[in-house]
């Protein structure tokens, strides 16, 4: 019992989102190990191994986050796309003007899709035609299961990424790694397409004029202010 409490205290050193996903499973796992350690000698060795595991893994989890948010990992456009997805998920008041956005408890694939398309009009035009982005936005508004969240006055507190969104971005990162480039708008869309059963992936497939442009090696030059 004391060991479990102590282990829980140790876990507080992990990044919050990682802890949110894995804390209970890790505690369960540690308790199982503790039950199997039936002598005080075995328990001492278990704690010794646990401390080494702790010292090695806590920095590693923070390092992963650092690497994924490092400026060099995403192209400027991809970073803006994720930022805009955050805006889509929230809602914003600019001056006294409400910007009509999707809203939501977290940044989902639909937000990421709209953020990417609105941020990269050139790619959106090639992929979907001139008014494709707004067609997709209307479809999302019409088909989305989740109700819109109430307006928030400020959009700096970006909602968390959904699991689907994390997977799409991880896939985009993998695509970028495979082609030895930074993550671009194209690769984010490929990542979304990889989430086969999602509304966002279905809308791309239904509306795309030609998906092969997503595999093109060159990214259109970035335009607009840095974020």
């Amino acid at each position: 019992m004391i060991s479990e409490v102590l282990y829980r205290i140790l876990l507080k050193a992990y990044p919050a989102r990682y802890r949110h996903n894995y804390e209970e499973a890790m505690v369960q796992c540690f308790c199982d190990q503790l039950r199997a350690a039936d002598t005080s000698g075995k328990q001492f060795r278990l704690w010794f191994r646990t401390m080494i595991d702790f010292v090695l893994n806590v920095p590693a989890r923070y390092l992963e986050i650092q690497l994924r948010t490092a400026p060099g990992f995403y192209s400027e456009r991809a970073r803006r796309a994720i930022w805009m997805a955050g805006l889509e998920a929230g809602s914003s008041l600019q001056g006294n003007v409400e910007i009509p956005l999707l809203g939501g408890e977290e940044i989902g694939l639909e937000h990421l899709l709209l953020g990417t398309l609105r941020n990269d009009q050139e790619l959106a035009n090639v992929l979907l035609g001139a008014h494709g982005t707004e067609t997709i936005a209307r479809s999302i508004h019409a088909q989305r299961a989740h109700p819109r969240r109430s307006l928030r006055p400020h959009y700096r507190d970006r909602p968390p990424l959904s699991e689907g969104c994390k997977k799409a971005l991880a896939k985009a990162a993998q695509e970028a790694q495979d082609s030895n480039t930074r993550v671009s708008s194209r690769q984010i869309l490929l990542g979304i397409l990889h989430q086969d059963s999602s509304l966002a992936a279905r809308l791309i497939r239904e509306n795309a004029l030609d998906l092969s442009c997503l595999r093109s090696s060159s990214d259109p030059p970035a335009a607009g202010p840095e974020v």
Partner: protein, 116 residues
Amino acid sequence: METLTPAVFHILLALADRDRHGYGIMQEIEERTDQQVRMGPGTLYGTLKRMLESSLIEECDERVDPDLSDERRRYYRITKKGRRAAAAEAERLQALVRIARAKSVLRSAWLGRERG
């Protein structure tokens, strides 16, 4: 296909024959390697997280081990991609062993252990 880390390869092998929860994976690896490889919860779940992101494994809802059914337990299953990756890694290691045999490295290591 990319080379797998030892931790990823061990986990894929543990999941090759059945779905398992975290502690089940740990136990299987320890038994199979004669206690030579021991993963702590931090290493295990950090690796599982990366494997989930790269779709080598997936979480499953079915509780394979009803005696140990606990809400906190999360069960994992190898995906087709994971199976392909494990097979490719096994072949890569097999090719290395063939080279080691051809260069008599494996035999000399074995003789050294016998003498010791």
